[in-house]
Symmetry: C2
Subunit: 191 residues, 2 copies
């Protein structure tokens, strides 16, 4: 998606060879007009898939998923990273390792909001090692729903998550795939 | 907002006299079409205020804020509840006590995304004791930006947050104000 790649080139900040900060428009400050265009692009790529539910994970996936959901005409469910007192124990659950935060946490979704007849699209901001998507896919599998695929904003194609998940049969559509990056030479996109 | 009150009556689940679960449409599964209508209502109430930034707090405020932001034509910034490795130390920070989770946490916003010339609208899903709004308002004050007010989806008007914040001069607009609730008698709205 050219609009997104251009924005990453202009406003993304590279730290070392692995960290890409896109805080200014994607995951701290959020450019909702851009999110709307990304939502339209996800809809174009997954048209005809009869998606009736979008599943994302807190926190930075939520805004992207909500703007996308307008284009699909469906609700969003967001997986929670820890069990709150107000969530029933009746949940689907998967363990996810966060390389960013260096810890393993539980990801939970109430059993009330995923059903065998659902066709679920996963949405998230980043795909690197693929841990979050793997956890969300495990939750969809537990529910018996059909996993349509995953829509990702930025895939770090130099990390193994995307290749591994595709090898396991998941359809992964990334709006921008970063092949390599460095502070000196900037970003090279995969396509 | 009648559409919202009707939805709360139909799908809200009351536990005791203080907990109102609206997981099915507001803060776990999210009805994006309803969010869009709520966004239009926030815009109607704060029209003419020249809002150029919406500030919310992760996680359940984000979807509501993003749909509202489309109506205001402005970006959203979401305050984070803990400091991630990818956020610079250069942040505005406030301590917030969560009665739901029984703990105190830091709420942070990068200094890059709030400026003295900003006119900021706070958006959140619930207002009860007012701790989250108080923390967000403190962050806006630190930045030197102008606080336009707060748009809340559900105010528990039987708890002191709304009255206290209004007494301190904050304009608080709540789309549904719950005066009282009980498992036996259901919900009474304030207006």
């Amino acid at each position: 998606m050219e609009l997104l790649k251009q924005r990453i080139r202009e406003d993304g900040v590279i730290k070392g060879t692995e960290v890409l900060k896109v805080d200014s428009f994607l995951n701290h400050q959020m450019d909702v007009e851009l999110f709307d265009a990304m939502g339209a692009e996800f809809k174009r790529r997954f048209s005809g898939c009869e998606v009736n539910k979008i599943l994302t994970i807190e926190a930075s996936g939520i805004g992207i998923a909500c703007l996308a959901a307008r284009h699909f005409g469906c609700p969003v469910v967001f997986a929670k990273k820890s069990q709150s007192r107000n969530i029933s124990d009746n949940v689907f659950c998967a363990k996810v390792e966060s390389f960013t935060h260096g810890k393993v946490y539980d990801v939970v979704v109430s059993r009330e909001y995923l059903h065998p007849e659902d066709k679920v699209l996963l949405i998230d901001d980043f795909l690197a090692n693929g841990e979050a998507l793997r956890g969300l896919a495990a939750i969809v599998a537990q529910s018996g729903a059909q996993l349509v695929g995953a829509g990702i904003v930025i895939e770090k194609a130099f990390q193994p998550g995307g290749a591994n998940l595709r090898a396991q049969g998941m359809r992964v559509e990334s709006l921008a795939r970063v092949a390599a990056m460095s502070e000196d030479e900037g970003i090279t996109f995969a396509d």
